[in-house]
Symmetry: C2
Subunit: 332 residues, 2 copies
């Protein structure tokens, strides 16, 4: 007997708010009858986006956190924001997870304040999947912690390993540390100390990974401080866009290239899923007493559905509980 899963969605979050979240919720719930979605935000605004009868439940929230609002301000001053109410629903057990495309800093600050970190975890991290030559890898931290010590990195590795193990069904995921060289002497004191902690742990630590190896599938989990992890993730995005632009220009440069470009359209379309960043949408705020998923602020319907999917998998695999259990076992 499968228990029903409930996920709260921040209907007001992101660049497009309910005009993306509501259609995504309708489409996703149509495919998953066992899932209950709660739409959190301004009731009338949300209802104006329903074009058919629906059983989706609306939870009122009178305020909206702006995309550029300072996280501390949002936390202190907007206690009835759609973002805050979403996280509260998880805290109260009325939702198994929540998804927001809102302000990342505010979501992290709110989630940390309301849900607290798991025992044994000092700082939550942002974790997502990145495309690789074979399939994908899990990477963290992607920007929550711009300064990290060795212990933080070690805890990220533990969390990443548990997530990859649960979500991908890998018994002992390979964990790599993002560094500026593969040799033991490379990098700074923090990263070498983290390498030392990992080498002496039960994790399947495989060593340092350089930026050009992220996509080579050498590791299932790539651990970085939030600064270099964020730089790597966004540089991937920028480089992919640059190459796609070069490609488009090349196929527009003369009559011959335009004809070949038209013939090649089906081939390029077959490529689209592999290079489509929407497919990778849905970052998990990992290390909390609850499941919180961050969607890209500019997500469209397909991308937002992926973020809901990510939350659903986290719930089904009871990820926070598994991380807690793993930490307890390590202490013994």
């Amino acid at each position: 007997m499968v228990e029903r899963v409930t996920i709260a969605l921040d209907a007001m979050g992101g660049d497009a708010g309910p005009s993306v979240v509501v259609p995504a919720a309708l489409a996703f719930s149509a495919r998953h009858p066992n899932l209950k979605l709660l739409l959190v935000g301004k009731r009338e605004t949300i209802q104006s986006h329903f074009h058919t009868d629906t059983k989706l439940e609306i939870i009122d929230a009178s305020e909206i956190v702006g995309m550029d609002e300072i996280p501390g301000d949002a936390l202190r001053k907007k206690k009835d924001s759609s973002l805050r109410v979403c996280v509260n629903l998880v805290k109260e057990g009325r939702a198994d997870a929540c998804v927001s495309a809102g302000n990342t800093g505010a979501l992290m600050a709110t989630a940390r304040f309301v849900l607290k970190t798991l025992p044994g975890i000092d700082r939550p991290a942002i974790m997502a999947i990145v495309p690789t030559i074979e399939d994908h890898a899990h990477m963290l931290d992607l920007g929550a912690n711009s300064d990290c010590n060795a212990k933080n990195l070690f805890q990220f590795a533990i969390m990443g390993s548990v997530v990859a193990s649960e979500v991908e069904n890998i018994s002992s995921p390979r964990v790599g540390l993002l560094n500026i060289g593969e040799e033991d002497i490379k990098g700074n004191d923090t990263i070498r100390e983290a390498a030392n902690l990992l080498s002496n742990s039960s994790l399947n630590y495989i060593g340092f990974i350089e930026g050009d190896s992220i996509s080579k599938q050498k590791a299932d989990v790539i651990v970085a401080d939030g600064f270099s992890g964020n730089v790597a993730l966004k540089t991937m995005e920028g480089t992919a866009n640059l190459l796609i632009n070069y490609l488009k220009d090349a196929f527009r440069s003369n009559f011959y290239s335009r004809v070949v470009g038209a013939l090649a359209a089906p081939v390029f379309n077959s490529l689209s899923e592999q290079v489509d960043p929407r497919v990778y949408n849905g970052a998990v705020l990992v290390g909390l007493n609850g499941i919180v998923v961050k969607s890209h602020g500019g997500a469209d319907q397909l991308a937002f559905e992926r973020a809901i999917q990510t939350a659903m998998v986290e719930v089904e695999k009871s990820v926070p509980k598994k991380i807690h259990q793993f930490l307890l076992e390590m202490e013994q």
Copy 2:
């Protein structure tokens, strides 16, 4: 009257040593009769790669620094290495610049020890060009300094601005700081302090740049600590390789795609220069009392020629002298 330029080449450096460096030197000097190239290394080995009479001069050096050798060891123990002799030639004024595809750490340690940094510069940095949507940008540090303070970043910005100004003939290059967000509050204390120093300087500081904007040509100079700069550079390389692989696979997937792929060959070839990493070869160790260029260890002939080209431009533009002058003017 143009003065003759002399450049010393580490003939033994890189994965391929003289089998790449000698042909590159022959080809490059054939196109630049005013340039004098000195080939540094084991005389007999170098001579065995000459297939025609040549006027290229050989300078003896009996030792070779290994690619994985610890920089400090190479510096102390291999005083007659081809790498060391190259740098010595610059110090002695017998060469205007040197180029090596050898061990980066050893080259930096040797160059810093022999040539010293310019007055007002605490640490040299590795600087190179990266492809952008319009053309390219200059980026530093790419891995020499894995920990940087705000003053280091500020000095990198000064050096980068002078180089971009001289090499690209831009009167006031736009300088951006690599960060994990564009808002003032983003990042860590170091980067915010560097931003503050830059805002109060005469440089054309435009603010924070995120990883996905490196390729958008928002800035002519992108300043980063050596850790995140190296991560960004290598992630670009890895992502480009990943996409090229996806593309190749897509054009091999069935009969139709193979036919279209064959028709598209000229279009892909026209793309090759834009995405060819060899075109961007030749990183400058900037901030030294002399010109030292690092070629990629795996450079082929074309790539190594680009590194010689980079050195030649640095000499013609008297970059170290211009940085020194700029620093003197700032002090006034």
